[in-house]
C-alpha cells in the first residue's frame, strides 16, 4: 500500500499548507508570527511558506544536532549548521516547520532549543509529511500530506529546487 511519493507536486502541497496556516493564524489572532525552519529540509519548506505568506519577520533557522537525544549513541552529525534566529523569541508566536514528522524526537529537540532563546507565547507546528509512528506525545497543527509507510522505508525531501520526495529502504 506504499504510495509512489516521487510524483507528488510538492509546491502544490506547500500552497495548501500556506492557506491552512493563514486561516489558522487568523483564527488565533496572530498577526506577525516568527517562522523557524529546521535544517535542512524543514528550512526549504519554511522558505517557501514564508514567501507565500508574505511574513514580515525574517525567517529563522535551527540545527538541532546539539539537542539530539541520541548523541551518546551515534555521536555528532558532522554536517551540523549554525542556528540563526534573527529576532527575539520571547513572547512571540512561533511557526515551527519541518519536512517529515516521524518519531517526534526532532521536534522535541527543536522545542528545547527554541526555549533556550526565550519563552514564546505559542508554537504552531507545520510539517510537509506526517508519516505516523510517533514515539512522543506530539502532533502537527498543519500537515501537508499523510503517508502510510512501512517502518523500514525512509522518506526524504530533496531540494532546494525542485523540491521532491524520495523513498528508499534503509
Amino acid at each position: 500500500m506504499d504510495t509512489d511519493v516521487t510524483s507528488i507536486d510538492i509546491d502544490a502541497v506547500i500552497e495548501l499548507m500556506a492557506n491552512q496556516l493563514a486561516d489558522q493564524m487568523k483564527r488565533k489572532n496572530i498577526v506577525e508570527p516568527l517562522m523557524i525552519g529546521i535544517h535542512t529540509g524543514g528550512l526549504w519548506v519554511a522558505t517557501k511558506l514564508h514567501q507565500k505568506l508574505g511574513l514580515t519577520k525574517p525567517l529563522g533557522e535551527i540545527d538541532i544536532s546539539f539537542y539530539r537525544d541520541d548523541f551518546t549513541r551515534i555521536g555528532l552529525n558532522p554536517q551540523v549548521k549554525p542556528s540563526h534566529i534573527p529576532s527575539e523569541v520571547e513572547s512571540e508566536h512561533i511557526i515551527l516547520v519541518d519536512d517529515v514528522l516521524y518519531t517526534g524526537r526532532t521536534i522535541r529537540a527543536a522545542l528545547n532549543e527554541i526555549f533556550d532563546y526565550g519563552r514564546p507565547d505559542s508554537v504552531t507546528l507545520a510539517v510537509l509529511v506526517d508519516r505516523g509512528a510517533r514515539e512522543l506525545p506530539l502532533h502537527a497543527d498543519i500537515v501537508g500530506l499523510e503517508l502510510d509507510l512501512s517502518p523500514e522505508k525512509q522518506v526524504k525531501l530533496t531540494g532546494p529546487t525542485p523540491l521532491a520526495l524520495e523513498t528508499n529502504r534503509s
Partner: protein, 337 residues
C-alpha cells in the same frame, strides 16, 4: 626539539606521533597537536565551532550535548584565560567541570601525574584538559588513559597549544573567508612559543600562501628551516604586503637575559605601532593570544585599533574549545555515520 633552556621541560619523552590523536576510523579522539592532522579534520573543527558560535547569543547560553559528561581541567601551570574559556566551553556544553590547579614543583614527575590520572579516572572522568610546563605532558597522559577517556592539550612546554592555534585559524577564516591567498606574519619569541609552532603547522596544512616569522635571531629555534616558514629579522620588510599579523606574548621573565637586552630595545625593533602597520596590507588583521604587554609587543593604539581582532579571538576561543570537546567525546565507539 631544540635544546631550549626551559627548566622543567625534560621530564617526558618528546612526543613523536600524531596518530595517537585519531581513532581507527580516523576521527578525533584526543587533541594534542595540530602537527600531522589533515586539512579535513582542521576544517571540521572550524565548521563545528561555527555552529557553536550561535550558542553565546541564546538567552540560555547552553546546549545539552555533553550532559552527564565529566571534564577535568588539569592545570599544572598557571593560566587564567585559557582555563576560563575551557571551563566556560564545557559548561556551555552542559558537562560537569572540575578545575584542578596543581602547582608544578621541580620534583613533579611522570609517576605522580599517573597517580592523579588514575584517581580521577576512578571518579569516572571522561576528559582531561591538560596544561603543563613540560613538553609532551598531554601525550604522556593520552598514552596512559582508559580507552573511553579523551585528552585535550591546553599547552605543553614549548611544544604545542593546538586549541589556541585553531581559534586563531577560526578567527582568520571568519575575517578573510579563504586561506589560499593569505600571507601571515608571526612576530616575537618563536623559540619558546608553543602557540607559534601549532599555528605554523595549521597555517601550512590549511594552505596559506606564505608563513613568515619575524624575530630576533636569538629567539628563533634551530629547526626553523624545517617548519616551512620564511624568516625575517627586520619588521618593515617582514610586514610588507601581509594580510594577517600574529603577535606573540613576550615572556617578561626572559627579559634582560642573554636572549633579550631590554623591553625598550625590543619594542624599538619588533614592537607593532601604527606607523609600522602601514607596511602591511590596508585591511591587515592584528592578532595576539593575550595577555598583551602594552608598549612591549604593541602600542595600545594598535591593540585597541580597527585592525585588532584580539577580543574576537577570545570569543572564538570558546566556540573552538566547545567544538574540540564535542568532537572528541562525540565519536561513539563503533558508530556508523
Amino acid at each position: 626539539m631544540s635544546s631550549s633552556k626551559q627548566p622543567a621541560s625534560t621530564s617526558f619523552k618528546a612526543p613523536d606521533s600524531s596518530r595517537l590523536q585519531l581513532d581507527e576510523q580516523g576521527r578525533l579522539r584526543h587533541f594534542l597537536t595540530t602537527d600531522g592532522l589533515s586539512k579535513d579534520i582542521l576544517t571540521e573543527i572550524m565548521d563545528v565551532a561555527e555552529s557553536f558560535s550561535s550558542v553565546g547569543q541564546q538567552a540560555v547560553k547552553k546546549v545539552p550535548v555533553l550532559r552527564g559528561k565529566t571534564i577535568v581541567n588539569l592545570f599544572f601551570e598557571n593560566s587564567t584565560r585559557t582555563r576560563t574559556t575551557f571551563d566556560l566551553a564545557a559548561k556551555r556544553l552542559s558537562a560537569d567541570v572540575i578545575n584542578l590547579n596543581i602547582a608544578t614543583s621541580a620534583t613533579s614527575k611522570g609517576e605522580s601525574i599517573l597517580d592523579t590520572i588514575r584517581n580521577l579516572e576512578a571518579m569516572q572522568a571522561d576528559m582531561f584538559v591538560v596544561r603543563h610546563s613540560a613538553s609532551g605532558a598531554a601525550h604522556f597522559i593520552a598514552n596512559n588513559v582508559e580507552p573511553h577517556v579523551s585528552v585535550i592539550n591546553a599547552g605543553d612546554g614549548s611544544h604545542a597549544h593546538p586549541t589556541q592555534a585553531m581559534l586563531d585559524m577560526f578567527t582568520i577564516r571568519r575575517e578573510k573567508k579563504v586561506f589560499s591567498p593569505l600571507k601571515v606574519a608571526i612576530i616575537g619569541d618563536i623559540l619558546h612559543s608553543r602557540v607559534a609552532r601549532s599555528q605554523i603547522h595549521a597555517l601550512n596544512t590549511l594552505g596559506v600562501k606564505e608563513v613568515r616569522v619575524i624575530a630576533p635571531k636569538t629567539l628563533l629555534p634551530s629547526d626553523t628551516d624545517s617548519l616551512g616558514v620564511h624568516v625575517y629579522s627586520d619588521l618593515a620588510t617582514g610586514l610588507d604586503d601581509v594580510d594577517v599579523i600574529i603577535m606573540l606574548r613576550l615572556q617578561r621573565e626572559r627579559m634582560g637575559s642573554a636572549l633579550l637586552p631590554s623591553e625598550h630595545e625590543y619594542f624599538e625593533c619588533f614592537g607593532l605601532t601604527e606607523e609600522k602597520l602601514a607596511y602591511a596590507k590596508p585591511d591587515v588583521m592584528v592578532m595576539h593570544p593575550g595577555p598583551i604587554n602594552r608598549g612591549v609587543e604593541m602600542d595600545a593604539a594598535v591593540a585597541d585599533g580597527p585592525h585588532s581582532v584580539i577580543l574576537q579571538q577570545v570569543t572564538n576561543g570558546i566556540a573552538i574549545r566547545m567544538a574540540v570537546m564535542t568532537l572528541a567525546l562525540g565519536q561513539a565507539k563503533g558508530a556508523e555515520q
